[in-house]
Symmetry: C2
Subunit: 181 residues, 2 copies
DNA sequence: AGAAAATGTCAACACTTGTTGACTTAACGG
DNA sequence: CCGTTAAGTCAACAAGTGTTGACATTTTCT
């Protein structure tokens, strides 16, 4: 028994779906409002414009669950969160996909970079601990995002049909050796 | 004593610089012709339009030099080619940057994915050899692009000030363990 | 020199973009 | 019931997009 979405919520949800998969500047206000079945003027009215709408989608980014885990389980949780299959060539709107989709955006690139630094790299480093925690965090993220990039964006044939367990095993193998550096 | 560039060459060179760093749909025809100091109409005249101009820039992609090396040196050459420093926050137009800048482009994404598969993954797999050559190629590319992504696009602080040798050492460490899988 | 072809210029087109203001309609409170 | 506020619709704007055709200029060839 879900309460039906308000118009404002419909816009925000559709915007999240489109912005996070196609990237900020590849999505027009009319793309969003068209898909949501509402008037285009409401974006400026409710969110102060396209830019405000995008930032509103960022505000509801769930915390990376891996960062909530006990320090000794952070790695396995992080690996797990990058190991589920991507919907078969269809678009899935998760925070990591969003980061990959907006890295070079001319208007939002800086905001995205800041988000990676403050919401992923720094908390992960503190969880990992140790003298080289910042280096380790960077290399763990590098490993996980590298595999995500190959699977989701470049869609390499060799990685296409691997199931969750196989991906998790490979991610774990790579991450463990990154931590041994 | 360089022969001065023809107008057509000026357009192509400027287009390569801009397309490869900002991505196809983040660059307008007038951006290019403005920077090149020529008339905007010449793009359609010489290259058949914006799309044709972009594809012309892809045609001059140099072969990945690592793929020309002897099989026993392929890995070290590949690692080396991903280890030089990125120009300090200024845009460098190399083929790998281009691939990262265009992965989610709504018009060119398919072409980029195809390029990665046929120009990088498959030749690399053949050079590596062995039963798991396709898996190994995918994981090597994953490792190298992962680090490139963290350095060039996300600009993680922890990786910012590392010199070529340090990056090469880390890339090599990760790639070697990827091959041990 | 004169014809022909290449080269470059200019203005305009049809279209999409984000945003705004005026308008109509619905909901709520007294 | 009426007045006020919220919610949503509509048409239009100014700016930017890729592309085109007509024109002017220069170069090339005979």
């Amino acid at each position: 028994m879900m309460k039906p979405l308000t118009t404002k919520e419909k816009i925000l949800e559709t915007a999240r779906q489109l912005f996070w998969t196609r990237g900020y500047s590849n999505v027009s206000v009319r793309d969003i409002t068209g898909a949501a079945g509402v008037d285009a003027a409401l974006v400026s009215r409710y969110f102060g414009g396209k830019q405000g709408l995008f930032e509103a989608t960022l505000a509801v980014i769930p915390q990376w669950p891996a960062l909530q885990a006990e320090p000794e389980h952070v790695i396995e949780e992080a690996v797990a969160s990058f190991s589920h299959p991507f919907d078969r060539d269809c678009e899935e709107a998760n925070p990591f996909t969003m980061l990959l989709a907006n890295i070079i955006d001319p208007e939002m690139g800086d905001k995205i970079r800041d988000l990676v630094q403050t919401a992923l790299a720094e908390p992960l480093a503190e969880k990992l601990g140790g003298d080289k925690r910042h280096d380790h965090a960077a290399m763990v993220l590098s490993t996980l995002f590298g595999m995500a990039l190959m699977r989701k964006n470049f869609r390499l044939h060799a990685l296409k049909d691997l199931d969750t367990e196989e991906i998790r095993a490979r991610n774990n193998h790579l991450v463990q050796s990154a931590l041994k550096f």
